[in-house]
């Protein structure tokens, strides 16, 4: 297929959607036009909702494919683990499909609910919270007053740690108000340029998509 269909048409569609969504958001022409746009604009957001849901399904299938490949490689130890992943994934999806076909909400299907409450939820919590151990050892190994900015960072961190807990109040009543002041004044001012940077980033990303400079979303290069 020619490069026009493979590359240019998708790029033009992207640019067109962005330009129209931005123009009609800012400019009011007349009521019927504005209403028609409003409907179309809402419809496009709904489309994104539907597409994202399907994309997540494709992502789940990717994991299945990865572990199926692992099994094909015939490494003894990994075969067992990969089989566990595949079996559990299929069980979860089968339960979801069963719930859908019998007309009940997926998340209220008793077996599905049991699996996510007692297996998925605690494991997920443990996976995300494991960082606490590394933070503790990092505080000992890397959090050191090596130069003036690092000394400032250290002082602020200690004040805030004391203000965050009951420890500070036991030493000096002023730690909590001091923490609040750091939060409201220097901290806010420090993160404001970053917030603005995010804004500029979003604008530049949009403009790059319009002019066709941004191509990472297309995946593999040709």
């Amino acid at each position: 297929m020619s490069v026009v269909v493979r590359r240019n048409i998708p790029q033009i569609i992207v640019a067109l959607i962005i330009v129209l969504m931005v123009i009609f958001y800012f400019f009011y022409i007349e009521k019927p036009v504005s209403d028609a746009f409003g409907t179309a604009d809402k419809a496009l957001s709904d489309w994104a909702i539907v597409i994202t849901a399907i994309a997540a399904i494709v992502g789940g299938i990717d994991i299945l494919r990865y572990h199926a490949n692992q099994i094909r490689k015939r490494e003894r130890r990994q075969i067992i683990f990969s089989s566990i992943v595949i079996v559990l994934e299929i069980i979860m999806v089968s339960l979801a499909c069963y719930a859908l076909s019998s007309g009940i909400a997926i998340t209220t299907q008793p077996n599905f609910q049991w699996l996510y409450t007692y297996l998925y939820a605690p494991a997920d919590a443990a996976m995300y919270s494991i960082l606490v151990f590394y933070i503790a050892s990092a505080s000992y190994r890397t959090f050191r007053a090596r130069n003036p900015p690092a000394i400032l960072l250290l002082i602020v961190a200690i004040i805030v740690m004391l203000g965050n807990t009951s420890l500070g109040a036991m030493i000096w009543e002023g730690f909590l108000p001091l923490r609040d002041w750091i939060y409201n004044v220097p901290n806010t001012a420090a993160f404001r340029p970053i917030t603005m940077g995010i804004g500029f980033g979003l604008i530049i990303l949009g403009l790059r998509l319009i002019i066709g400079k941004e191509t990472t979303w297309m995946g593999r290069r040709e």
Binding site: V85, I91, P122, A125, L131, M161, A189, A190, T195, I198
Partner: protein, 234 residues
Amino acid sequence: MIELIGGWLAAVMIVWIYSFVYKDNVLYRLAEHLFVGTAAGYSIALSLDSLNRTAFGQMVKGVEYWHLIIPILLGLTFFFKYSKKYYWVARYGVGVNVAVGAALALRAAPMANIIKQINAAVLPLWVAGDPLKTFNNWLMILITLGGLTYFIFTFFPKTEGKAGPVRIAYKALVTIGIYGMMVGFGYLFANTIMTRVGFLIGIILQYLQPRFDATLVAMILAIIAIAFAVLKKK
């Protein structure tokens, strides 16, 4: 009964996952793969649920929602990414999704992320009768300007030759910006500890303490598994 087994399972999973910080072992790997399997299954299931309620459920309601067949078809193009020859078809689905997301952000970002932030940073430099407020305002403006100066990557004042007023001002602002951000990051670091410790406290209170017996058994098993891993290495 089923809840008792569940409680045990939850505590055991957590202890085995935590055992990783001491040493990678077979029980951690088991828990890890159990987690990946359920996570992938859960994500597919919930996406089906969302799809069912936001697309099919709507289309049943009336003709005005039949346009949702288009995103379903666009979403299905994602499956073409597995094909070596027709991988480009997926770009139509991805493209629409990316475009809508980018347009929504692009049209509101100038007001939300820039204009409103500038408004909030424009403060009176002299507040009569309130020296603290005056000081705060100065600090706010200087650190914001300093941070913005630090993030200018497109052009720099000349660094060769005698230092002019522009360069001195630039250097001063950048220094203020750096120190301001250090205060911000110091705050962030302290709060990171709060969050991480909070996560661990939550887990102990919600899962491990109620099933202390399971925790103990899982710990003994994990110690044996770690011992095996160490011996095997030697």
